[in-house]
């Protein structure tokens, strides 16, 4: 039965070859644009998220509290207006207190790796050149488990920090800017007024110029001494086996340790919402292409319905039901959608392959970048599904009209 309806539908379309080809072209272009643009945007989105997840901690515990501690009197009278005079702020060395206990607790949690970091600003000097850098005190073996920095080492080794406490690992861009090379001694002055000389034992290249030109890694103890913050750290970075669980895990950790604990999702909320908005805009634009294609299908099927009133009447007289007629015209939409999908996906694959060959340099990156294309089955299913939906929706209205044709009215006028 379906075969018969599809046969009639196909013959109707073949009889209007030019119109059918135009509407088919609309679907082909719609599917190919939808597929290639969607795959490109989704690819870049996944790439951004992958970089976020891979290159930064999944969770960061900071030496800060989400809600600042109130004065005792303010806690006692929460509704009152309080004015305190001559309050002397407590002088203390900032940092996460009792961090070894926190690290012990974190390391007992399955699927979680943690490493302590003390970060601070410093001034690097070499051969008359000065440059502000971010100094990161780490325990190399621990830090390597929560970071991808090892992957980006181009010279030397991060692990050497453990055997050479006076060593420093810097970005290759910083080395280039300050004319440094492996083995050179670099003077580093902290904001606490301490000065130390470090030997360059490694170079890394992440491709991000802000990191490559502005960050350096030193043994934790040396940084604690340089920043005058003994036995203190100000960040604990955490890597999870399941990055998607970061938000829930961060909330759980914060409840336990009380220090502000930020997941990668929270840290990237602005970016994630920007990506979501970008997706909405993209789907609206490529959806509009398919909408235009749908109008083409609507046009051709409406024309067939108008021209085929007599055929509809005779088919009804022959014993075809109204719903057969409806299905017959829906089959026309399905045929255009299906054939359009086949060619559209083919053209889309060509466009995707072409887009992959485009290379460019983005601001903030020292590397040549390529467009990342998402070749997942989901992209193909989405493009094909949306195209079929558009085609069937476009066919539905004329199909309904065809089903409502009263054969007697047509036959009376036609004989």
């Amino acid at each position: 039965m379906i075969r018969l309806l599809v046969d009639i539908a196909a013959r109707h379309l073949l009889a209007r070859r030019r119109q059918s080809i135009v509407s088919l072209l609309g679907v082909v272009l719609g599917v190919s644009f939808f597929l290639s643009i969607s795959a490109m945007m989704r690819g870049s989105e996944l790439d951004i998220i992958r970089r976020l997840v891979d290159n930064a901690p999944h969770i960061t515990i900071e030496d800060d509290y989400r809600n600042p501690t109130l004065q005792p009197v303010a806690q006692s009278f929460p509704e009152a207006a309080i004015e305190l005079h001559h309050v002397v702020p407590q002088t203390e060395t900032r940092g996460i207190r009792g961090y070894p206990q926190i690290l012990d607790y974190l390391r007992r949690t399955p699927g979680l790796q943690a490493s302590a970091v003390l970060s601070g600003q410093a001034l690097a000097s070499f051969a008359g050149k000065d440059r502000a850098i971010g100094l990161n005190g780490i325990v190399a073996s621990e830090y390597a488990r929560v970071s991808t920095i090892r992957r980006y080492m181009v010279r030397g080794s991060l692990d050497e920090l453990e055997v050479n406490p006076s060593g420093i690992v810097i970005g290759d861009e910083l080395a280039r800017l300050m004319s440094l090379s492996m083995g050179n001694n670099l003077n580093v002055a902290s904001t606490a007024g301490q000065l130390r000389t470090f030997k360059i034992i490694g170079l890394f290249h992440t491709g991000r110029s802000d990191i490559d030109a502005g960050q350096a890694f030193v043994a934790l103890k040396r940084v604690q001494s340089l920043l005058n913050r003994p036995n203190r750290i100000n960040t604990i970075v955490i890597k999870l086996a399941d990055p998607d669980a970061a938000r829930a895990e961060a909330a759980r950790i914060e409840q336990r340790v009380r220090y502000k604990t930020v997941s990668w999702q929270e840290r990237s909320e602005d970016l994630m919402s920007a990506l979501a908005i970008r997706s909405v805009i993209m789907y609206a634009v490529v959806g509009a292409v398919l909408l235009v294609a749908a109008f083409g299908i609507y046009n051709v099927i409406s024309t067939v319905v108008l021209e085929k009133q007599r055929d509809i009447a005779i088919l009804r007289a022959m014993g075809f039901e109204a719903r057969d007629i409806e299905r017959m015209f829906l089959a026309q939409g399905a045929l255009i959608g299906a054939i359009g999908n086949v060619f559209g996906v083919g053209l889309g694959c060509g466009l995707m392959a072409g887009l992959m060959r485009i290379h460019f340099r983005v601001p903030g990156s020292t590397d040549v970048n390529y467009l990342v294309i998402d070749w997942s089955a989901f992209q193909f299913a989405l493009a094909a599904g949306v195209a079929m939906l558009a085609a069937m929706t476009a066919a539905y209205l004329p199909a309904r009209r065809a089903a409502k044709v009263e054969p007697v009215d047509v036959l009376r006028g036609g004989t």
Binding site: M1, L14, A313, M318, F320
Partner: protein, 225 residues
């Protein structure tokens, strides 16, 4: 004569509107198998409307239509379509062949709709039907390649595809020349007299009507006594 095929009891068809129009007024009629009934009357008298009511294409405003002893009043759209598919064959003044299909494929359509999927079987039956009407050489031709008489005979073959017991022909010779007209007349009469079907044929042709077993004259929707 054999058993009753169709019976109309006091059937009326009225179009509602600002000015109601009565197409068929209190028509009662019975046609048995093997009987050919000619329906004549002036233009607009309700001949075709009567035929559409007999063919379950239209619903009576009042009265009942019995098909093979079954009251069709309670039939839904699907049952009426099913009855048309299995028991009724229509032939119209214009052949109404589907132009995208060959003569043979046009004849195969009702069989395919009936659910007979064996292509060889239905093609053979379609060719046999066309051969029986002298069109054995025209099977693969498109309707535009056929003459008016040939197209009308293809339409008759299509009407017979599912071996209906009732054939309703609405001025089947109206658009044909005299030779083609006589051929079609002979074919239609043979459906009743040789094949035992019940045939109702609307015609203005007095010679054709004279060859029928019974003549019915309609004026203003009423069957004249």
């Amino acid at each position: 004569m054999t058993a009753e095929v169709i019976r109309l009891e006091h059937v009326t068809r009225r179009l509602q509107g600002e000015v109601p129009v009565t197409l068929v007024d209190d028509a009662s009629l019975r046609i048995d198998g093997g009987e050919c009934v000619a329906i004549s009357g002036p233009s607009g008298s309700g001949k075709s409307s009567l035929l559409y009511l007999m063919g379950l294409l239209d619903l009576p405003t009042a009265g009942r239509v019995w098909l093979r002893g079954a009251d069709t009043a309670g039939y839904g759209e699907a049952e009426r379509s099913g009855a048309r598919l299995r028991m009724i064959g229509f032939v119209f003044q214009s052949h109404f062949l589907l132009p995208e299909f060959s003569a043979c494929e046009n004849v195969m359509l009702p069989m395919r709709r009936l659910g007979i999927h064996d292509e060889t079987t239905i093609r053979a039956r379609a060719c046999a039907l066309l051969g029986g009407l002298g069109l054995e050489d025209q099977c693969d031709k498109r309707p535009r390649q056929l003459s008016g008489g040939q197209s009308q005979r293809v339409a008759i073959a299509r009407a017979l595809a599912n071996d209906p017991m009732l054939v309703l022909a609405d001025e089947p010779t109206g658009n044909l020349d005299s030779v083609a007209s006589r051929n079609v007349q002979r074919t239609v009469l043979a459906l009743a007299h040789e094949q035992g079907r019940a045939v109702a044929v609307v015609t203005h042709d007095a010679d054709f009507a004279a060859q029928a077993d019974r003549r019915i004259h309609i004026v203003d929707g009423r069957i004249q006594p």
